[in-house]
């Protein structure tokens, strides 16, 4: 992945809420803590964040309520003007864009689903979904066809003439999702997009986004409070606390090697066997002789549970997608992970 230049690259981004954030930031000594900053009358919504999102990647942001997830995403889309640092989107410094370019960027490249939906109350479902298309000046007929297509996709067919207040919370959320699907942006910001959906539809929607990401190479920044969802979707997970990113890494490494105390606490309750893949636990070959059937490195330990219990070998060979042996998995280690240390 790191070969192509990142789609979003944030360097030392700060977003302070308060009377004169830029001035304060300029005069602030480095390393000041969140509490100290708050004592000075500022809220650090985003605190010195540096992060990159590669093309076609799905980055999931997690963290407690108020940790700055939404704020960070709003900085990426320049709904907030950042107080310090730099954000490049597709190689452009978004803080340097003028109004026209910013509008163009949002019309053509970015889409967002809002935490509390942000539907226009006076427009029907159809008109809400068609809204971004209308703003781009598409003619009525085309935009209606396209809107109907995505409305069908999110399962709201037959409701297209309803007004938002006539819909349930989950249905409203699906209108918000449909609206962002309608333009199929390259870069997608999803702020808890499925929080109000029932498990069934939630899964369907997750699949839809996974499909889009895989087929069309969309870049997605996804906020969620649901770890299972994160694991299902994420290429990488970023954990935020008090505006700062504590750790940003692949799911297994977050679980296996938490960078800080906080991340460890955050991931303590998770069933590690569901997260860690065989290749993540494997040791390098280093000339060890391996025997017998190789196992798929991308399977989680949980997927391999039955095999691990029944197999008698001490070390199991691990194969990559092409079938080449890449390492060995110590069975005892895997069983410990699966069942907990004895």
């Amino acid at each position: 992945m790191p070969q192509t230049p990142p789609v979003i690259s944030a360097k030392n981004v700060w977003k302070l809420f308060g009377p004169a954030p830029e001035k304060y930031l300029a005069g602030m000594q480095p390393g000041r803590t969140f509490e100290k900053i708050r004592a000075d009358g500022y809220i650090a919504g985003v605190k010195d964040v540096s992060i990159e999102v590669a093309r076609g990647e799905m980055l999931v942001i997690m963290g407690l309520s108020g940790s700055g997830k939404s704020t960070l995403v709003r900085c990426f889309s320049r709904l907030h003007d950042i107080s310090g640092g730099q954000i490049m989107v597709d190689g452009q410094d978004i803080m340097a864009l003028n109004e026209r370019d910013l509008i163009e960027l949002r019309r053509n490249k970015m889409g967002m689903v809002f935490q509390s939906f942000g539907l226009l109350p006076h427009r029907t479902v159809l008109d809400n979904v068609a809204f971004p298309l209308e703003m781009r000046g598409q003619d009525r007929h085309t935009r209606r066809d396209r809107a109907m297509e995505v409305i069908r996709l999110v399962g709201l067919e037959g409701r297209e003439d309803y007004f938002p207040r006539e819909l349930s919370g989950g249905q409203q959320q699906r209108v918000g999702i449909a609206r962002s699907l309608a333009i199929e942006p390259d870069i997608w910001f999803l702020d808890e997009p499925f929080s109000a959906l029932d498990p069934l539809i939630r899964r369907e929607m997750q699949d839809e986004f996974l499909r889009l990401q895989a087929m069309l190479g969309k870049t997605i920044v996804f906020i969620t409070h649901d770890f299972d969802e994160a694991l299902r979707l994420a290429d990488r997970i970023a954990i935020m606390k008090d505006g700062a990113v504590e750790q940003c890494d692949t799911p297994d490494r977050i679980v296996m090697n938490p960078a800080t105390e906080y991340v460890a606490k955050f991931t303590k309750e998770i069933d590690k066997a569901r997260v860690v893949r065989a290749r993540g636990l494997a040791a390098p070959l280093n000339g060890t002789a391996v025997e017998g059937q190789a196992i798929d490195g991308s399977a989680t330990i949980h997927d391999l549970a039955r095999l691990l219990v029944n197999d008698a070998r001490v070390a199991l060979p691990i194969a990559d997608d092409q079938g080449a042996i890449t390492g060995v998995l110590n069975r005892q280690k895997a069983l410990d992970l699966l069942l907990g240390e004895a």
């Binding site: 949002r106 809002f114 109350p121 003439d161």
Partner: protein, 660 residues
């Protein structure tokens, strides 16, 4: 826990000097007054000598003259008046009342208007509003006031949309540019307290006598609330909706057109309601510059003490007001509904189609039966004379007459005249000191400083005595209104049902054009000071009662429950929990009562007072713009002084109680 909250600690530190300052000011005022009563106060301390009073009016006349003629503003305004504005007014006058102007189609048969009113009412609020709309039209036509009513309406239908558009644009500008809002705010405060007569004269001079002047004055008067509501609504738009708009790639114009304004629909429509109601009230008042219509007729009838006809016109005005108010309020709460798929177009558009059909139908019918077109002089059902006899004989009943005459005597001789003389006896500086002390006590330093400046300007305007008489009428009326309105509100607030009834009654009463309140006053007391105070009194009681009920009803239930749990009696609960918590809201009502009173006192001038209103009304006949302006400004400055002090108090109190 709750009982603690009702005791608001005074700001520390400032308490001691504050009491001293207050005592000092009042002491000085008292000393000056005593000296005056003892006859040892030098005359120049009692009233400012004529010599030091600057010729403000003359100076203003020069300024106006300069703007009007040298800068050529009058050509611009006259152009507007004789061009587009007059055209619009003529068109509406032709359609509604049949004035001989382009397009020469009118008048629209009253039955057609009634039918359309019914359809509009139905669309907005179902059968009840349909009945109200049609009923009002039928009543007006049958009673023989159709033409007059349409004269009034023809100005309203032009003034209200114009006021709406201008108010909306200024409101958007004020929301967009902070500096503009900051500049606009003080202007709006003054505009909202300036008596209507002060709008009329410049309108007449700049926009020529007749409907145009009336329309312009009306429009200007109705704009401020529209501005305020627009700004309020736009500020309240949820920021996620705004962000959704931005992420959809809206340009600035698209944001405004497709996101902000539709999302602020409710507040904007509340503004529309206020614009319509103010316009109606003001169009009626343009009678004072000789505009024909319901107001002019009412003025004439009351002037010649024809109570029956006055009563009928009053009913028409009230019906019109209630209809317009209910319909525009129904529009506020009406939300769009979707149609099921496959609904045919004539069902989707059934309301406009129905309206059109009813309209065409009645227009055709009116060709066959002229009575449906217009009701002639001899055909109407006005019972003016009979009602006149009934009212007058009712008032002449011994019981009634005894009471009204005693009241008149008692109020006049025992209350009003002594009070007025007392106020006039106070030396100017002492009076200003008392006002400042009052403001300081209520609202702190800022209102006190403004009070001092404002009242000094009033003193320097050269109209001190008349200002004091105006103030006397306001204070007496509001004091009496407090004695009636607050107990009434407290009583009503005891039960859910009565609260609702009283609130509804107050709401309805507040929609009546102020002019209406003069009718019962004149009926009961004839043409004199007591009638003035009485009309102001009923006008001012309404907001007092209303906010008392609202204040008491909105006391958080957990607080009253806490009081109940600690075993307090109803009376204790009221005095120690409910009233203190309701007081800030009640203060809003009190403030409104004072503002209303200032407004009404000036209008009541035509009954024959000796206050600023009287002088103001006199200027309407001439061209003394400067004097007119000075008089109006005096009213405005006095009103603003109270407004600032009371608002400051209510806000401070709310903050201290944690009610905001």
């Amino acid at each position: 826990m709750t009982s603690v909250i009702t005791e608001v600690p005074k700001a520390q530190g400032s308490a001691a000097p504050r009491a001293t300052i207050l005592r000092l000011m009042l002491g000085l005022a008292l000393a000056l007054t005593m000296a005056q009563l003892a006859g040892i106060l030098p005359a120049w301390l009692h009233r400012l000598p004529q010599a030091v009073i600057p010729p403000t009016a003359l100076f203003l006349d020069r300024v106006f003259d300069f703007v009007q003629n040298d800068l050529g503003l009058i050509y611009v305004t006259r152009f507007i008046a004789e061009g587009p504005l007059e055209f619009l007014l003529d068109t509406s006058a032709n359609l509604l009342e049949g004035k001989r102007r382009w397009p020469n189609l009118g008048p629209i048969p009253w039955s057609a208007t009634a039918g359309v009113a019914a359809v509009v009412g139905y669309a907005l609020g179902g059968w009840r509003l349909a009945a109200l709309g049609a009923g009002t039209c039928v009543w007006t036509a049958l009673i023989g006031q159709w033409k007059m009513a349409m004269q009034t309406m023809s100005v309203l239908v032009v003034a209200a949309p114009l006021a709406f558009v201008v108010g909306l644009c200024l409101g958007i500008a004020a929301w967009k540019y902070r500096w503009f809002e900051r500049v606009l705010k003080p202007f709006l405060s003054v505009l909202q307290t300036l008596p209507f007569f002060t709008y009329l004269l410049p309108a007449v001079i700049f926009f020529k006598v007749g409907p145009t002047a009336g329309a312009v004055a009306t429009i200007i008067f109705a704009i401020p609330p529209m501005i305020l509501m627009t700004t309020l609504g736009l500020k309240k738009v949820s920021h996620e909706v705004v962000e959704a708009g931005k992420m959809s790639g809206c340009t600035r114009w698209q944001m405004l057109r497709h996101v902000y304004i539709p999302a602020a629909r409710t507040e904007i429509l509340v503004g529309v309601n206020q614009v319509i109601m103010l316009c109606l009230a003001m169009v009626v008042l343009t009678a004072f510059i000789g505009m024909p219509g319901l107001g002019a007729k009412l003025l004439a009838m009351m002037g010649s003490f024809k109570l029956g006809r006055s009563f009928e016109i009053g009913v028409t005005i009230v019906l019109l007001a209630v209809t317009l108010d209910r319909m525009s309020k129904a529009w506020v709460v009406k939300q769009p509904q979707h149609f099921e798929k496959g609904t045919p177009w004539w069902v989707r558009h059934r309301i406009p189609l129905l309206g059109l059909a009813v309209f065409v139908g009645f227009v055709l019918l009116a060709q066959l039966f002229p009575i449906l077109g217009s009701i002639g002089r001899k055909q109407h059902f006005s019972q003016g004379k009979e009602i006149d006899v009934v009212i007058k004989s009712f008032l002449a009943l011994d019981g009634i007459r005894g009471v009204t005459e005693w009241l008149r005597w008692f109020l006049n001789v025992k209350v009003l005249i002594p009070f007025r003389n007392g106020m006039l006896a106070i030396p100017t500086p002492a009076f200003i000191l008392m006002v400042v002390a009052f403001c300081y006590w209520l609202g702190g330093r800022r209102p006190a400083i403004f009070g001092a400046v404002f009242f000094s300007i009033v003193a320097l305007s050269g109209w001190w005595d008349r200002s004091i008489i105006t103030l006397y009428a306001v204070i007496s009326a509001v004091a009496l209104a407090t004695l009636i309105g607050i107990p009434l509100g407290i009583l009503a607030a005891r039960s859910e049902i009565w609260s609702r009834r009283v609130l509804l009654a107050c709401d309805t009463a507040q929609t009546f054009p102020s002019f209406i309140y003069l009718i019962p006053a004149i009926m009961l007391f004839g043409v004199n000071d007591v009638a003035v105070v009485f009309s102001v009194l009923i006008f001012a009681t309404v907001p007092l009662t209303r906010y008392t009920v609202e204040g008491l009803r909105t006391v958080p239930p957990e607080m009253t429950e806490a009081a109940e749990m600690s075993g307090s009696t109803r009376r204790q609960k009221l005095l120690s929990v409910q009233l203190p918590l309701a007081l800030p809201t009640m203060a809003v009502g009190f403030n409104q009562a004072i503002m209303f009173a200032f407004f009404m006192v000036i209008i009541a001038a035509f009954i024959g007072t000796q206050d600023l209103g009287q002088e103001l009304q006199r200027t309407l006949a001439g061209t003394e713009l400067g004097k007119n302006f000075v008089l109006g400004l005096n009213v405005s400055l006095m009103a603003l002084t109270f407004d600032m002090a009371i608002t400051a108090w209510a806000e401070g109190r709310k903050r201290a109680l944690g009610l905001e």
